[in-house]
Symmetry: D2
């Protein structure tokens, strides 16, 4: 059962009961992700851009404390100002931040203290939801709902950051011992055509939840195009590798080629070859052979671009992707709730629509992350949530196997830097009609 965090309701239609229920469910889902981890597992940070699980647990709590309790809960007492310094991620509007690359050094507060911090904040937020005066209800409900969507984003980061940390350990620790999803064949790749149009892009401003970066809804000219019926598989990517794709300069963006020379990368993240030449990949279920039908993940924008060049295609723009997503009919997945945190093979959509648009892997688009025409960040520190990141990053669409079900939608814009690979990021091809 998905946890939609009220995203299906306009904020003025959210009841206290519904918000309480969603709040507790989202908060519990975070704890659930950490349940099998040791204290050390929760404290490691394997690169500056990743954070420890314990930090995510504390930071999401700090978010509620800072943006919900402090302004709305008269009796709330901050535990220690140093905690605000430690667990503020990047909100300059509410104070300085502990250096991000050092989050793995925060041994104190320990996992027990962070657990108690979560409980104390949970209790206070629930009290507040139940008792807030009616005239502040809409404001409160809106910020709680933002906090829940924020926490779901961090749930995905918990999975991807932990995977990166675990991958550094030669013991190949597993987060889950559930068997991998039943093996199945990927669908044949087909091209699905879309007519030229002046499209409406972005989210409606109808009170249902979306992030500020999905608005305003606006028009864009989109020429006719074709989209691949499913994302690229590991087997298809292996063919690119075997054809020498990593060594052909003409397939790569100049910055991508420089990145290859510097990093000596020659395979997706988490892939390794054994002495017999067989490819393995580290997963949150441990080390497993690469399955050719499985959807490819953990490639950078540069690799996605080069693969598309090699395949005689290109990446879709985010407008193209959003148009196509509007026609998707299947439920898709897998999502984080499926408990495996790993992609599967994508089969044919029963209506011939693009399959696997949601869940499984984020799909790199050809679009840089930029404000929509007329974009305005909200006032105050919450305005730092999205807008200030609109440079140097590329948009990804559709959610992944680590995204909570119900969190993502057709207009949802995720964004990462071109070389980033530790997300479940894959490729869907497009081409001229």
């Amino acid at each position: 059962e998905p946890v939609p965090a009220c995203n299906d309701l306009a904020v003025d239609a959210i009841s206290r009961e519904r918000l309480t229920r969603d709040f507790l469910a989202v908060r519990a889902a975070t704890e659930n992700l950490a349940a099998t981890l040791t204290a050390e597992d929760q404290n490691i940070q394997s690169m500056p851009g990743a954070s420890p699980v314990k930090w995510h647990r504390a930071h999401t709590t700090w978010f509620f404390e800072t943006f919900v309790l402090k302004p709305h809960h008269a009796d709330w007492r901050e535990i220690d100002p140093a905690w605000a310094y430690l667990f503020n991620s990047y909100y300059n509007g509410v104070g300085e931040q502990y250096p991000r690359p050092q989050r793995g050094l925060i041994s104190r507060p320990d996992v027990g203290e962070v657990g108690r911090y979560r409980s104390a904040v949970d209790q206070a937020v629930v009290e507040l939801i139940e008792s807030a005066p009616i005239e502040r209800w809409q404001e409160l409900a809106a910020i709680v709902r933002l906090g829940l969507n924020h926490e779901q984003q961090h749930q995905e980061l918990i999975a991807t950051d932990l995977k990166h940390g675990f991958s550094q350990n030669p013991l190949h620790p597993a987060w889950t011992d559930r068997p991998a999803a039943a093996e199945r064949e990927a669908a044949e790749l087909r091209w699905i055509g879309f007519e030229e149009r002046i499209a409406q892009i972005g989210a409606f401003d109808d009170g249902r939840f979306c992030f500020d970066n999905e608005m305003p809804r606006h028009r864009e000219v989109v020429e006719s195009f074709q989209l691949a019926s499913r994302p690229v598989t590991c087997g298809e990517y292996l063919a690119f590798m075997e054809d020498g794709g990593y060594g052909k300069a003409d397939l790569w963006l100049s910055d991508g080629w420089a990145w290859l020379q510097e990093t000596r990368i020659d395979a997706p993240l988490y892939w390794q070859r054994d002495d017999d030449g067989r490819w393995w990949q580290y997963t949150l279920g441990g080390l497993r052979p690469v399955d050719e039908d499985e959807t490819l993940a953990h490639v950078s924008f540069y690799e996605a671009f080069a693969y598309a060049q090699w395949a005689g295609a290109r990446l879709p723009t985010e407008a193209e992707w959003e148009i196509a997503a509007g026609s998707a009919t299947d439920g898709n997945g897998p999502f984080a709730d499926d408990g495996r945190l790993h992609p599967t093979a994508v089969t044919e959509d029963r209506n011939g629509s693009p399959a696997g648009m949601f869940g499984n892997v984020w799909e790199w688009t050809a679009s840089s992350y930029a404000p929509y025409p007329g974009f305005q960040a909200p006032r105050g520190a919450v305005g730092e949530y999205n807008g200030k990141f609109m440079a140097n990053q590329m948009v990804l669409r559709g959610g992944s196997c680590a995204t909570p079900k119900g969190h993502v939608r057709a207009t949802y814009r995720n964004f990462f830097y071109p070389p980033d690979r530790w997300q479940f990021s894959g490729i869907r091809l497009a081409r001229r009609a």
Copy 2:
């Protein structure tokens, strides 16, 4: 008298006489830029992204040798394969390249040898233009014309790279001893409105010269907007500085703020304050006081963005800029041909159109450098000219005081990385209508 390098003619209308004349004029303009420089001046490289003047003189010659003489001139004999290695910039399709950050170590060939190389290639190209068989004329004329536009781009780099190199010298060497342009007042800033439209953006494919990245011409929805009547002045930027603009995190993009912390930048490039608090700037005419009416140059995209935030405005998209440029009526400038290589104050356009759109300073746009819908890079090594750089860079428009007159046009797309400041890059504001 401008040197338009035949850009005003479709390629099938270019005569041998006209092309010869333009060829010699462009080639001479390069030599003219270097005429007052010592051999050492021509060999210094002050950062990995800049190149020595001598290298530019040799590289532009290598371009003609490689793409004009080798394919078209039966008798051409390459001087030394090592020269091709030294002077190939980034064309993987024609061979490996000497490491870019080491170009300042190329003491041999010396300035005399490079001069003789230029002469030998000039002579052979002129022979070729005069004698090429008629059936290869169009192909030849097209590649020569590309080579001339290429050389003009390097003329601008000669100026900006030399300025950066000279600025490292406490003796403040001057490239010119001509007096600075007559001082004059900048026009008042006005806002000029543009209606919403579905605009045609990009160059016509009519045989007149443009770069591949300006095509194909295509439609974009552009909402109504207002554009500033002139670019930002040094005085306006000083007000931003004095208001603490470099210290207010909420004005900056996240990457811009991180860049500030790392570089400790607190003024435009080449600005320095004396003990009395007065601002000076290094120019190619030596050290001079900052003139408040002069058009601001040498700011990064990050600074341009922050300034616009501070001013309650934003940067224009490249489509907006191109629409507005279509309405410009003045000749504008200054351009490189004016021989001062420094911006001036922008006065009112006599028809009330946006003033100073061409020449003076490149204007950062809000648009990342991306392919237009349906963009196709040409086949072969020349296809590496533009397309492979379409990531991580922002578009600038309009040319600068170091751009040769006639080289730039309304559809022209220049591009640099967000932190780059050594170009004559400035700011023009836009805002919602």
Copy 3:
């Protein structure tokens, strides 16, 4: 009661009982250091040159497993080859090593597993000590004794690495809540003279324990000199700071001055100034005001050199130090066994000998770490223990407040790189007679 690890006995005089007792005592002392730490505390690594406490606990165990159990214990079964990879520090002779800067990422095995690893190895070593055939006893006893001295060295590193890690946390975690040592006044500084001699330097080869780098005992010409009666105090160092010592280039070695410019260091490690200009220092008992009588610690060789220049003196050579240490009469200290892991003030030696030579702080010497004439490293992987580090490091003498009592002696040579400051490293002055 000190734990001398049999160092007072020649190896052929060590009984099984004595070795068992010492073995268990040293092993318990390690566990004791970690007893109050959380799992996260034990896993953090705050710089590449430091290691997590858990890693030290595992590595010292691996040392016994590798050099004692594997060669001597027929029934020993290695737990997992990946553990040998993780916990081998630098012994190329026994295999590859997990990258040192990533030791903080080793979340698995967790603290519980490492505890069980220690117990299993302890039990097997004790069995072996009790049951080893007499003809292998001497060899076994020698390697166990080396392992114990090795473990004591790591006990000191546990304290210093943990201190460095804790110091990164704005909560200032304390390892101990014992009150700081009773405050007392430091003795007046006197100069104690030593006659010129041809000295015998280094350890006797008499079967009592010493490291290979203390041998062979050899002769050196040592001119007459004077040694300070006690190490430099915090108050004396404050005077150097207040006199602008960190800003006077002529006091510093060239490399030291470059290090200052790069790091912007202007005080000992762990010192910070509050808004009132008062100096505080982070200690393993939490944040405390700087006590002027206390012995100065946490300075680099560069700072020690500059201080000595400023004071009109110099650092002693290691031969001078060793001669003077031979005349020391007091028990000195504090050592790690005192449970505070912090230096104290040094009072007058009752016989007028140099006071505070042992314990408290390591004293930088003017001598680079080099082999004594005729030095031979032992054969095999154990030969990597000391010899291969004889470049780029300086010798320190005398032990510190984090050194286990009984571990150090007059001939003991410790060594660190000139910029290192995270050890309890201080200064004792010398000068010409």
Copy 4:
């Protein structure tokens, strides 16, 4: 004819004529080194630790201007204070310095201006030598003599820095077109024994020139040892390489091994292998095959150490080297004056003494660069000449093929960092008697 710069005379015995003659000869030798170089050749800087030839020409002139003319010549007028900033190397006592890694950016003053600077200073110094009042003669003569020895050191750096710069150029520019020295066989390696002694080490304080770091003369215990009869040849070093020496961790110091992993070095500097596996080396006479009899040069201390380990020997201490040098009987060489700037094969000494101790290649010793007992740097800025470098460097002895004849002596101490290779640095073995 050597240019001994009066080093054979006590300062009170130097006549004005002799000093003038030596002054002009040394100054001319510098110009001679640069005579065949282009302006660009003289301006390149291929690494932070190297300097352009033009800079060396200007800096040595600045040295005379600063330490001779300014204090002694009443009429001297400084050309431009910015020149003092540009050409001061590291003397904090006389002012700030232009950043060393940017010396290659100093295009102005150009080679012509530097030549005129040299002439002007030369003329003034000669006037001064001829006219200085008798009561200041000794002081003047001493500082001029220091300036000449300083200039000779820079002559060696001109050769080695230029070689490094030229080596970056795929055209392999040659400084000389003189044929390489006649090929000859290296002598058989013999071991020459030296008895144990209490040696007198360092220079006599008798008025003849030596650097401050060679004093005071003092006693050291030196145990009996054997020294190789000649330095290591290229052929011997090739045997080490072919035996896998660069891949055997047990031969290397720990820092040396880390240096290998980081740099991926696997041969001496300037060596390269062609497709047939034949070894070539870049020399100042161009690219040449490696000659197995030639004396090995361009290895680091780390490589020298590893080679010695592999050969079952060690490096000599500087005291051992100095004792042996006292017994050398041959004239040795080659020196810079021979005009080839490249090592030759060393043949047998006719008296059976160690051959090739002087000239050819500097020989790494096992001794770190440290002050002799009682060392005192001179007062004032000249005191920065040597003393402040006494950390982190190793001593080399004997001079090289780029050292001016007459400049070096048995007590002369050169020093470089362990990884440095761009000097003509080689290996002589020692071992226990």
